[in-house]
Symmetry: C2
């Protein structure tokens, strides 16, 4: 007997009607002979509603209390889904993070799953229940309730799938798979049938909203096959798993408009200056992404970097202090930038891809402000106004418009069917 | 240092603004030098909202899941109140029933508190926190979440006050005390300064909504002084405690319109008939209150009893079967009845009170359909149409219009002030 772990995102369970549809899927899976465990997010906008309520009584709610408050959203979801399953004539039991044995670190609002005591869930599954677990939450060994941070339900699902040695972890959401680009920006974007963990990680890091990065990391570390699909149709989605059979050169394009570019001008170019600046920023818990330091001229240099635009209010006082301390000239902030990334396992073995990317951008009169790379990713910072042109041009230049490339690069339908039969 | 337990009912914390007002009370108590523990109900109508949501996916929600769902209402309340306290500059920690160590029996939806492991709450109090506990919920020794049934938050508060040896348990709600009668029915009704546990128990059982009966029982059993008062004013409320210094003959009048009177006519008067009928009703989990059996005529008798009108749908099939089995003539149902009760410790020693009550009703042309009594209560069933006349006439006849009677029957203001100084 195979075990399916199925995760429903907030929009998939936003209304009683959608709850019933989700319940029907679970019941169908059980009737097909699977053991079924579902992980749920809070219904629709309920987490935002709870946050708004908190802010009405306290502009800076204490993190411990915020965890207790926000965790109720998933508890409502799980019990309602269990009731919906029972109304279809199957047995269901729902479990809070605590009851499910999800032990986390003690960091409120951003806890990490340490381990899972699966005995209670296994017993419930063995007794024939459809088991439903509240996503996004756990507890510490001192009995404090914790949450995993936004999107943590994906991580809950993957961690449970790993701990229970599930055969597949399905992620139902309002996104119906992983695309070669954002279809709203690049109308010819194609849905991928499958993608490797590594590429998916780079796409998530680069701004693709299909899956949470931490969940993908967990899946890779424990070799859990993910299947990312839509709760609102029966269309095939995208598998995320070990290397696809053949590698496409480039799997997809991701973009991120949420960063700002900061340039500190006229910094005296002495040893350790950059380290000082960035450790001051790190102390304010602000994540810096790309960093470029210009060649020194007359003993002065410029330092540019990107950081989340949402953190600018906290970043400015840090920079004011650093500029004064260093005797730098000034700092400039540009929020109208886009970070554009090309991701593909083929980048590892094809050094020509970066050159081709730069050439395509240049042919389209697009100036590259910053560059960073990893083994399978190239990211550039460009003017947001040029973002759509750039994405469409790159999509065509790297043959992503042609669906055929990806069909070949992944498992065939027959191979998938054969795997499914074996319970994967 | 004294410990105050303070319970806020649902209307007292229905909005963020009321939450802040409740928080201010707690902060004031702590600044006056008390240790403070608050128990909260769910905000406003949120329990009803959750119930409605459950019924949208399942007309008969499983009890285990219903407990998990409904418990979220109090968890939202407790965390929001803790945040409101922190925004006033005091430290607060909130605790779920599980975290608060409230161990209950395994009966879902109607669990009873078995014992409370107070270590964690005591530590939080000793660390200077204002401690806030979710009312209405607990957990079983196998880790299942349970609720105590409607009004269970009062019981949570009293049980915590008992377990922690609190000096006083305040119950804040939209009712500002215990009255000699319902002020909406008897405009001259007077608020009592204090009332004994026993009288309060009888009033609660007879329909007075001021306090939950189980909470009063708990208070009596563990000798916890209750103070029932309004969340919306600083007016004095009513103390519920051991015998008042002097006893009033009659403390108050309560009424209950929620019962129906059922009469089974023409029942063959053979031994054990009544026992058969009432054990069949008990098996359907319907509580029968008053029972009257008429004197037999020609070997036939009539049996009358009262039961909750809300249970009639379940009661009718039981009666249909019993009438057929016994060969009785028929049964009649009257839902337009009121059960009127006179409660007072003085009844124990003044046998004339019942006679006086019957005389007053007769003088007002009110027919008594059924009578039942306890040591300190007389209840009669009358036509609902006559209920207001009856209550007003009895209120006047037993000198309840005169406030003075009760002032003398309870502690004087000075005595109360002296007690308050000692931290009660």
């Amino acid at each position: 007997m195979s075990l399916l772990v199925t995760k429903f995102g907030g929009t998939s369970v936003a209304t009683p009607e959608r709850m019933c549809r989700a319940a029907q899927r679970l019941v169908d899976y059980q009737r097909q002979g699977h053991q079924v465990l579902a992980v749920v997010s809070a219904m629709g906008s309920s987490t935002d509603d709870l946050l708004a309520l908190a802010h009405e009584v306290n502009p800076a709610p204490p993190e411990r209390e915020l965890d207790l408050l926000l965790a109720t959203g998933e508890i409502v979801s799980m019990s309602i889904l269990a009731m919906a399953v029972e109304s279809l004539g199957c047995r269901a039991q729902s479990f809070t993070g605590h009851q499910a044995g999800i032990v986390t670190t003690a960091r409120h609002n951003r806890a990490q799953i340490a381990h899972i005591k699966t005995e209670r869930l296994e017993r419930a599954l063995d007794e024939g229940n459809i088991v439903i677990v509240a996503g996004f939450q756990g507890f510490t060994k001192t009995g404090e309730l914790t949450t995993l941070g936004r999107g943590g339900s994906d991580t809950s699902a993957v961690a449970l799938a790993a701990a229970l040695h599930a055969d597949l972890c399905e992620i139902y959401s309002d996104v119906d798979g992983v695309y070669t680009a954002d279809p709203r920006v690049v109308p010819r974007a194609q849905k991928l049938e499958s993608i490797s963990y590594e590429e998916m990680l780079e796409l998530s890091a680069a701004g693709s909203g299909a899956l949470q990065m931490r969940a993908v990391e967990f899946a890779r570390n424990f070799n859990v096959t993910l299947y990312c699909r839509s709760a609102f149709s029966d269309n095939p989605g995208t598998f995320v798993k070990e290397e696809a059979v053949e590698q496409a050169l480039v799997s997809g394009i991701a973009y991120d408009n949420s960063e700002a570019k900061i340039t500190i001008r006229g910094v005296p170019d002495t040893k350790g200056i950059a380290a000082d600046v960035f450790s001051a920023i790190a102390k304010a818990h602000i994540n810096v992404d790309m960093i470029v330091q210009n060649i020194s001229e007359h003993g002065l240099t410029d330092i540019s970097f990107t950081a989340p635009a949402g953190d600018l209010d906290r970043l400015r006082p840090v920079l004011d202090k650093q500029v004064a301390r260093l005797g730098a000239r000034e700092y400039l902030v540009d929020t109208k930038i886009t970070k554009l990334s090309l991701v593909g396992a083929g980048l590892r073995t094809n050094p020509g891809i970066a050159a081709k990317m730069f050439k395509v951008l240049s042919q389209n009169d697009i100036n590259i402000e910053m560059i960073s790379t990893s083994a399978i990713r190239i990211s550039v910072v460009i003017d947001t106004k040029k973002s759509q042109t750039a994405q469409q041009a790159l999509h065509t230049a790297f043959d992503l418009d042609a669906k055929q490339v990806f069909r070949e690069a992944t498992l065939s339908k027959e191979e998938r069917a054969a795997k499914a039969k074996k319970g994967r």
